[in-house]
């Protein structure tokens, strides 16, 4: 297996070819902010939070999907990147209704954490205050579109890991919305196995357990990572 050596923020690192810049950075203790990325799910490079600068290329590249190459020189924390990352977070906050105070994920939300990382003490962009519905038709879980940032982790986990493909993205552009079944209430979708993986991987307060109230959402995706690794191991082993 060939190995590529590269520089990340002045640190030298050697990685197996095909590994991502994100993994390479983590190897030398550098955390690049991510939101739509989740280990165990296919990368989509949609949130653009993990963009890094690569010497010799005019374009910014997403670390979650760009493979390491021999001799790459990568900058992960320039002032331009910091400003762009803060703008991505502001775009997300102003696009939805992220009222942290009354949110089920308050204190346990990856969007909230990233807002702290990028130093957002206020949004420089005006809030849109869109009118979005809440779906409480499922007997165990709820979906609050006001908190949804369209990272599509729920769509991917339901398709790639559970295999039920209950979720998908409907419409286009700013009208995009996560839909279940034939744009039916979640509770009416009979292909749903009630497994709750989507709730587990949702980074914000969009998907939650009924009964949880403000600050009570405690889901983490380590269980999913273990499940996917176990399956991969099973497929590899004879």
């Amino acid at each position: 297996m060939s190995v590529s050596t590269l520089m990340i923020d002045g640190h030298e690192v050697a990685m197996a070819a095909g590994a991502t810049l994100l993994a390479a950075a983590r190897e030398v203790g550098i955390t690049i902010p991510t939101l739509c990325h989740l280990e165990g799910l296919s990368p989509v490079a949609a949130c653009r939070l993990c963009l890094v600068e690569i010497e010799g290329s005019g374009k910014l590249e997403p670390a979650c999907i760009t493979p390491v190459l021999e001799g790459m020189v990568v900058r992960t924390d320039t002032s331009r990147l910091q400003d762009y990352r803060r703008t991505v977070i502001e775009l997300l906050f102003t696009e939805g209704n992220h009222v942290c105070a009354v949110c089920v994920a308050n204190g346990h939300c990856e969007l909230q954490d990233r807002a702290v990382d990028v130093g957002m003490d206020h949004s420089r962009l005006p809030y849109r205050y869109p009118d979005r519905p809440v779906d409480l038709s499922h007997h165990l879980f709820g979906l609050d579109h006001n908190r949804c940032i369209l990272c599509t982790r729920c769509v991917r986990v339901c398709d790639e890991v559970e295999g039920a493909h209950v979720w998908d993205v409907g419409w286009r552009g700013e009208h995009c919305r996560i839909i279940s079944g034939l744009n039916q209430p979640w509770g009416e979708v009979d292909s749903c196995t009630n497994c709750g993986k989507c709730v587990q991987v949702c980074p914000t307060g969009a998907l939650f357990h009924k009964g949880d109230t403000a600050e009570e959402k405690h889901d983490d995706s380590s269980q999913l990572v273990a499940l996917v690794r176990a399956r991969q191991a099973r497929q590899v082993a004879p």
Partner: protein, 176 residues
């Protein structure tokens, strides 16, 4: 000229519930040949939806379920794909359709004046239909006949170099 497809003016965020007029159990047999022609491959979804809308005028829930089952695709993927494209609509289009081209050439020569006049005349916003289902006011980005700018398509017929007067006259002649 073959009828110009006009985006039926379903709202982009329309809720699709069961409240559409009672849909008698249709067999959609007109789709059978195209489904066979493409060996029911999932890649033919958009081709099938194009023919479905041409034949049945809009994509009802039952029609989408029929297509999803035949192509063995998840309902959410079928609806997600159908709702992505501007020309597919999920509610019965109005009896008449009035579509204003809002492409660059038409806009530069005054398409927005036509839209304002029509919105006022019909009492509806662009992209909506009249409550009584008589007419839908839609827009299309460019039909590629910019020599005829500004251009309005009424019930599939292209009318060129339109003015506020000519457009209102054309709509009034429909006797809604």
């Amino acid at each position: 000229m073959p009828g110009v497809p006009s985006a039926c003016s379903a709202d982009s965020g329309a809720e699709v519930g069961g409240e559409i007029a009672a849909e008698k159990e249709q067999s959609f047999e007109a789709l059978e040949s195209i489904l066979r022609q493409h060996q029911r491959s999932p890649a033919s979804l958009i081709e099938v939806l194009n023919l479905a809308q041409e034949t049945y005028r809009y994509l009802s829930d039952d029609l989408l379920r029929h297509v999803a089952r035949n192509l063995e695709l998840p309902f959410s993927q079928v609806f997600g794909t159908a709702s992505f494209y501007h020309l597919f609509c999920f509610k019965a289009p109005a009896r008449h359709s009035c579509t204003v081209c809002t492409g660059t050439a038409c806009s530069v020569i005054g398409a927005d004046r036509l839209v304002e006049a029509l919105e006022q005349e019909l009492g509806i916003r662009l992209g909506r239909s009249k409550a009584d289902g008589s007419i839908g006011l839609g827009s299309v980005r460019c039909l590629g006949t910019c020599g005829a700018a500004p251009l309005v398509v009424i019930d599939g017929l292209v009318a060129k170099q339109q003015t506020v007067a000519s457009v209102l006259e054309a709509v009034r002649s429909l006797r809604l």
